[in-house]
Symmetry: C2
Subunit: 477 residues, 2 copies
């Protein structure tokens, strides 16, 4: 066997076993000890990597040595129990096994025919998820709608906007371009992906209205209504509203029932982005977040954020799959096949931007079956409980204040010492390596965000985080 | 430990070892024996999957039993040595190890700061690939350009079109929408993703001109020039040409040098789509396919097709990263960080449609280091040699004819008995399960395609394929 040959099964087994041990050691021991935010400076990693590719093959041991020596210091540890930044991207062993099986099968599921199981398992698991989250029946594949796994909520926003554009222009925008200005709406606290989508889809970012929010950082429906009226009066065509259930910045929850009624009255497509917070609806006591979702034309939640499923796995649902498919379908001769022509199957390539697709349903199937609905509820409840404990400490400390309502697992707070103190607090905390927080600006003030959602975050981690924040706050003010 | 708890490290090790054995057994023994094209009928898989999700957790053994019993009969085996359909999506053990490590680290590399190693390893490996394929220096990160991993060539086409739209309209299209009809061009044999991108980007599918091809299925530059002249005369704005190096349908190679000179003269963005065939440029003797690529503004090749790297891994290069970033960047408060503001780092979220990203560079790094450039060349050469042997058998048999030039690893051919015979031949071959071929239509005639590129395809497989095709042809005519 030469080094340029394929790796033998025997060698693969050996390296895989070592790698499995490496992963267990990383997830259960090392990740706690490493600085959460990588302390690398720009080019630190790059300059250790050879400028030229190797002419001859190298042993796998050399690569794993470089993973430890070069790569690991350049990792920001999303799987650390002390990761509270942005939104979580939690994982679990069942999900990792799902990714491994997907890689071992090496299936490309662009068409039903290119692996019926890849399509049909996805359909079933999306229907499961829809029922687990109490979503309306029309999002099921057995009705007029259905679910599909996208890479991210950004792509879900784009696909929703494209389907909405298709519906309002009756296909004209897709065929010949946008003939009359279309206008979309979202709250000023919504995720930037809506603005990105408006640019991509040729709507124009300026034709996305960022509607004012109220004191809970939820969209103001009166302002939305005014904006729609003004745009119509000025000859533009309102077509799309993206409401958020749990904004990235502060976990604001838009009033979906009122927005939904307005959208129905005005004939606008309503997309509901529940990327992180939708997972909370697994628990009946948090299902209030889905009030009004029955008005939605589309909806998304990310099991890759808070449901122990490795990135990428965004679950995107539509009430009318027809509009989505008309916006994205393509059928060249070389993809024609009997199953597609029969109309009896789903070809998910027509539900997304890319053509190809990995077998991503496996990991979500493994997660749901490993935990069961009860198990998932248990862990989600636990995360909310931990965040609520943190919130109570903030509220009880006179040096700190809560900056937003914090209904679930994200707590926005600030030191009362002003922006400079909060900026210093954030930098010192993150440079210390014990934990990783990110910030936002609320009511014009620098605000810290602590989001609980990593798989291994427990009481002692959140307690230590609070002690560290509180003590550092004392030295700064 | 209850069933709803996280899986223990011990249990993970056990199940992972079993799964590794399963994968070795699948890839080295079972996959040869199973019908390549799944013989499942619509809903065969779906109806075996419970309608409701499990309330309580299940043991992992139950899932693996279902993988064997329910999922496997619904798999079309892309990793079979007898898979000759579409384009390959080959894998390798080093790539699977890369996917496993990526899943175990669970990193989300949207920003440089969210894992510097995820960004910097990608930058280095893209530069390696650019040099391995003899691409122009301006595609390197050390120049004005750079490479990025996209999920697919479809997304690369879309990003190229968005960057081109940005450049020609000086940002207006992104900000306020498309004010004057923009026109794009590709050959009538190009991939459908270009049309899909034109729809998504608000250009309008009708504003994509499908330029006639010559007898080798390559774009006719005289027709392209005419089309551009006519569009300009009629007040539209030509802005984008997508040339293909190795079309999906027939491996046609567009005359990139002539197209490139025309694009430069007219100020049009030139994208070169070398999704499958670009890999051939690893070998000096096939590097002729990259003639003229020095004119390109962007280029893509898919290591996930023919370079032993698991899907998804499309390598997308731009000569001027500025246009791409202006088209796709977004910077909300909650993503602001010192590294980004310093301008000293790459944030790959601004090079793609989604915000989030997996650590996909690991698998490509492992593949290049395991095989070395020499090893990759060896296997690519072997595939081309096998396809050329098949081609010689077709040419020598009076019942068959070659339908296109077949310069590399894709052979388009047909039985001389006419469309019905070829359709029957295809259906009978695929239903038989011994191999999987797909078709196209060339010169108005049904044409079979045999594409050699799977990791384990050897002489005996291609020989057996030819014997099966030849013998079945005899019984049908």
């Amino acid at each position: 066997m030469t080094e340029s040959a394929h790796m033998s099964g025997e060698a693969f087994r050996k390296h895989a076993h070592e790698l499995i041990d490496w992963i267990i050691d990383y997830q259960e021991k090392r990740v706690d000890q490493l600085p959460v935010l990588s302390q690398a400076a720009p080019s630190d990693i790059l300059k250790q990597l050879p400028v030229d590719p190797p002419e001859s093959g190298e042993p796998f041991e050399a690569m794993m040595a470089d993973v430890d020596r070069i790569i690991l210091p350049g990792i920001t540890h999303w799987q650390s129990p002390n990761f509270y930044a942005f939104f979580p991207a939690n994982t679990s062993y069942p999900a990792i096994l799902g990714e491994l099986l997907s890689a071992g099968l090496g299936v490309q599921g662009m068409l039903w025919a290119t692996s019926p199981a890849c399509t049909e398992l996805e359909t079933r698991v999306m229907d499961w998820l829809s029922s687990m989250l109490g979503l309306p029946g029309r999002f099921r594949s057995t009705s007029s709608g259905g679910g599909v796994i996208q890479d991210s909520a950004s792509s879900a926003s784009l696909c929703a906007m494209l389907a909405a554009r298709e519906r309002i222009t009756e296909g004209v925008s897709n065929r010949v371009g946008i003939e009359r200005p279309l206008v979309a709406y979202t709250s000023s606290h919504a995720h930037s992906s809506v603005e990105k989508a408006a640019g991509i889809a040729g709507i124009g970012r300026k034709n996305l209205r960022l509607v004012d929010a109220d004191e809970t950082f939820a969209m103001r429906v009166d302002r939305l209504e005014e904006a729609i009226r003004r745009d119509k009066a000025e000859g533009r065509m309102p077509f799309f509203v993206s409401a958020t259930v749990g904004t990235t910045s502060s976990n604001g929850i838009d009033p979906v029932p009122e927005i939904g009624e307005l959208c129905r009255r005005e004939g606008l497509w309503l997309h509901v982005d529940a990327a992180m917070s939708g997972t909370a609806a697994l628990c009946p006591e948090f299902r209030f977040i889905h009030e009004g979702v029955e008005f939605a034309d589309s909806y998304c939640v990310n099991p890759h954020k808070w449901m122990f499923t490795n990135f990428d796995c965004d679950a995107f649902f539509v009430a009318d799959r027809g509009a989505l498919i008309r916006a994205l379908s393509i059928l060249p001769e070389y993809l024609r096949n009997q199953a597609t022509e029969s109309g009896a199957v789903i070809d998910y390539r027509d539900w997304q931007v890319p053509l190809g697709r990995r077998f991503r349903a496996l990991k979500l199937w493994f997660v749901i079956r490993h935990y069961g609905v009860k198990g998932l509820r248990l862990h989600v409840r636990r995360h909310v409980e931990l965040a609520q404990r943190f919130r109570s400490w903030v509220e009880a400390d006179p040096s700190f204040e809560l900056a937003a309502p914090a209904p679930l697992n994200l707590v926005c707070f600030r030191h009362r010492g002003g922006d400079d103190v909060n900026r210093q607090l954030l930098d010192r905390l993150n440079q210390g390596g014990d934990l990783y927080l990110t910030h936002t600006v609320l009511d014009g003030k620098v605000t810290l965000r602590l989001c609980v959602g990593q798989t291994r975050t427990e009481d002692q981690h959140v307690e230590a985080a609070w002690e560290r924040i509180r003590d550092l706050g004392r030295t700064l003010s």
